[in-house]
Structures are given as C-alpha cells and as structure tokens.
C-alpha cells in the first residue's frame, strides 16, 4: 500500500503540475522535500543519541524490566506474541508512557528501540510482524493526556480558556486509539494462519535472540482466535 500511495503522489503531482503550469514549482518542491527529509533525520541524531544512552542505563539497571512488569497485564494482551520478560516489553512501555505525557522527543527514540527489539523476534527481517503493526497503530493514534503545544498556541492567540480542548482531545484520542486497536486486531486475526498449521520455525540468519518456545506457543494461542 505504501508503494501505491507513494507512486500516486508523485505521478498525480507531475500530471497536475503540467496542467497548472507549475512544473518548476514541483521540481523545486521535490528537492526541498529531500532536503527536509535529511534535516529532520539530522535533528533526530542528538535526541536519539541522548535518549538511547539514558535508556541503556535504565536497561542495565533493570528499570525497564520493572516498568514492563508493572503494566504488563494490559500490554501483554496487546502483544500476545512477545514474551513477557523480553526487553521489547520494557521499551514498548516507556514509548507508550512518553507518548501519554506528551514527551514527543523521548517517545520516538524509545519507539524505535522497541522496534529494534521486536526485530530480533522477527523471522523475516524485511516484513513487519503483527507486534510491530500493533506498536505502530498505538503510536499513530498517540494517546496524549495534555496536548501542550496546542495549549501554548491557543494561549498565544488570547484564548479565554486555552485548556478547554483537553477534554475533547482526550475523548477523540480515545476513540481514535480504540479504532486503531480494533482494526489492528481484525487484520491480525485475518493474517495469522490457523492454529497448528504454519509455525514451523524458519531458520534465521543471525538469531542471537531467537524467539523462545514461549513466543511460538503464545503465537499459536493468538492464532486460534479469542484475542481480547
């Protein structure tokens, strides 16, 4: 689907630009876009370096494991195919809590780190696993308790009650997240094979951390229907 959207954007842009006589603008926009892609990535370097350093300390000190244990009943339901004591769980937890408190620049590095941990459980390194899709779904709908940027903007333009949108935002966020979880469940169930048929372990290239038996067992369970 990403392939199609990408192709659609580019082809339509050139066609429309040709009709509108904006070919020069589109050429310029293509290079501006490339430049901003690089700028954003470079902006991420400092944040990534800092938070990944911090999180390594947290991991070595066992903070992440504690955090994962604290909320694991809820998270485990959402990620049935990740072993409960896997480091990915700790990173998923920190990613979700950073989102919750609106710490955007901490949420991204932790989310990426969680993805890297999930990648270690992935038999096919180029295809997303169901757990990755669930984590992505939770992040695209981003549950935020207080949208601080917007409150600041509203304050800036002299709102009588800048924070009055907190309630409506929270409600809309819950609906969006609920929709994401439901859609994710639906696709997950549809794409997982019937129990006991597929799950032969594909020999993995460099599995330093191969999916333990517990992982496949819980995968089988989730494949059998009855998920949350």
């Amino acid at each position: 689907m990403v392939n199609w959207i990408w192709l659609f954007f580019i082809v339509i842009s050139v066609v429309v630009a040709a009709i509108n006589g904006r070919i020069d603008a589109v050429t310029q926009a293509a290079f501006d876009g490339a430049k901003s892609g690089v700028t954003i990535s470079f902006g991420l370097i400092s944040i990534m370096v800092f938070w990944l350093g911090m999180m390594r300390i947290a991991e070595d000190a066992g903070v992440l494991k504690k955090l994962a244990k604290l909320l694991s009943p809820v998270i485990r339901r959402l990620f049935p195919d990740v072993p409960a004591n896997h480091p990915a769980m700790g990173y998923i937890m920190s990613n979700l809590s950073a989102n919750l408190f609106g710490l955007g620049n901490a949420a991204t590095p932790m989310g990426i780190k969680a993805m890297q941990e999930l990648q270690k459980l992935n038999p096919d390194q180029t295809t997303a696993t169901p757990a990755m899709c669930t984590l992505l779904a939770l992040n695209t709908s981003s549950i935020t308790l207080v949208p601080t940027t917007l409150i600041a903007i509203r304050m800036n333009y002299g709102s009588a009650n800048p924070a009055e949108i907190v309630g409506t935002t929270l409600a809309a966020t819950f609906v969006a997240t609920g929709a994401a979880i439901l859609a994710d469940r639906w696709y997950r169930r549809r794409s997982s094979p019937p129990p006991g048929i597929h799950h032969k372990q594909i020999p993995i290239q460099k599995s330093i951390d191969p999916p333990p038996i517990a992982a496949t067992a819980s995968l089988r369970k989730s494949g059998g229907g009855k998920v949350v």
Binding site: V2, F9, I10, I12, V14, V16, N20, R22, V26, Q28, A29, A30, G33, A34, S36, G37, I40, S41, I45, M48, G53, M54, R56, I57, E59, V63, L103, A106, P109, G111, I112, M115, Q116, T126, T127, A128, M132, C133, A137, N139, T140, S141, T144, P147, T148, L150, I151, I153, Y157, S159, A160, V166, T168, T169, A172, T173, V175, A179, A183, Y187
Partner: protein
Amino acid sequence: MFDLFTRLSAWLIPAIIVFIPLYAAFRKVPVYETFVEGAKDGFGTAINIIPSLVGMMVAISMFRASGAMDLMLGAVRPLFDWLSIPTEVLPLGILRPLTGAGSLAFTADLIATHGPDSMIGRIASTIQGSTDTTLYVLTVYFGAIGIRKTKYALKVGLFSDLVGFLAAILICLYIFK
C-alpha cells in the same frame, strides 16, 4: 488543574534524567560508560532513517506544490457542506496524517484567523491534538529497522486517523454548541 499538569510535565524529564542514573549507580552500574555505550547506537539509527524519510518528504512536498492537494480538497468539499460541518477544517483531515509541521502550521493559521475560541478554532485544536502524523511515524519506525513490507500497518493508521478526525468534529460540535 492545568497549571498542576504543566508544572508536572516540566519536572518530568529532569526527574527521569536524574532518577535513572542515580538508581543505576545504586545498583552498581558504571553509569557514564553505559551511557556512552548505548548512545553509540543513536547516530546509526538516525542515519538509517534518511532514505525512507527523504522518499516520503519528496512525494508529499511535490503533492502540495503541484496543486493536487487543493484539487483533492475541492472534491471532498461538497460532502462537508452537505453535512453542515465547517469546511475550513477539512484540509486538516488530509494534512494531519501526511505532515506534522504542515498541519500544525495550518492549525495555527485557523486559530489566528477565526480565533482560538471559535468553533473552527476548537475543532482544529482537537483534531491536531488527538492523532499523530501516521505517514511520518510509519516511515521513521520502519525505516529505522529496515522493514520494507509494512503489511496492514498503514491501513490501520489511516483508518484510525479518519475515525479520530470525525470523532473530533462530532465531539466538538456536541460539547461546544
């Protein structure tokens, strides 16, 4: 209440930054060395994202500059008129999943033009606050680990954006009428 929360979130990051190393030192972890060791991964990870992010930003930037985005909006506008939803917020529904900076700028513009306490201002704020930039999140997260086949992830993200967009409008129309 809001005051309390802003103060709380201002203290949250410093609290985390001091708590983690302190606790780790207590558990006899060599904090500085561990920090440097973990931080090493940050550079490579950020660099890994560049190809996917450049690809995506080029497409979106072309789409906006060509006028194709305006055409798309024109096509959906009658439906919004018919539902008596303020059409001014419509571009936000399309911008929001595509570009975070673009939709934030658009929201700020709507708030500036119509006032933060107008219905349009409130709806725009709610839409902007309630979902994230799906395409960006997908590009960055999957780009960082080299996932090329994204399966149903994008569909789920866009579906949730659509639901969030409609929910934001309906909730605002109901609460602030």
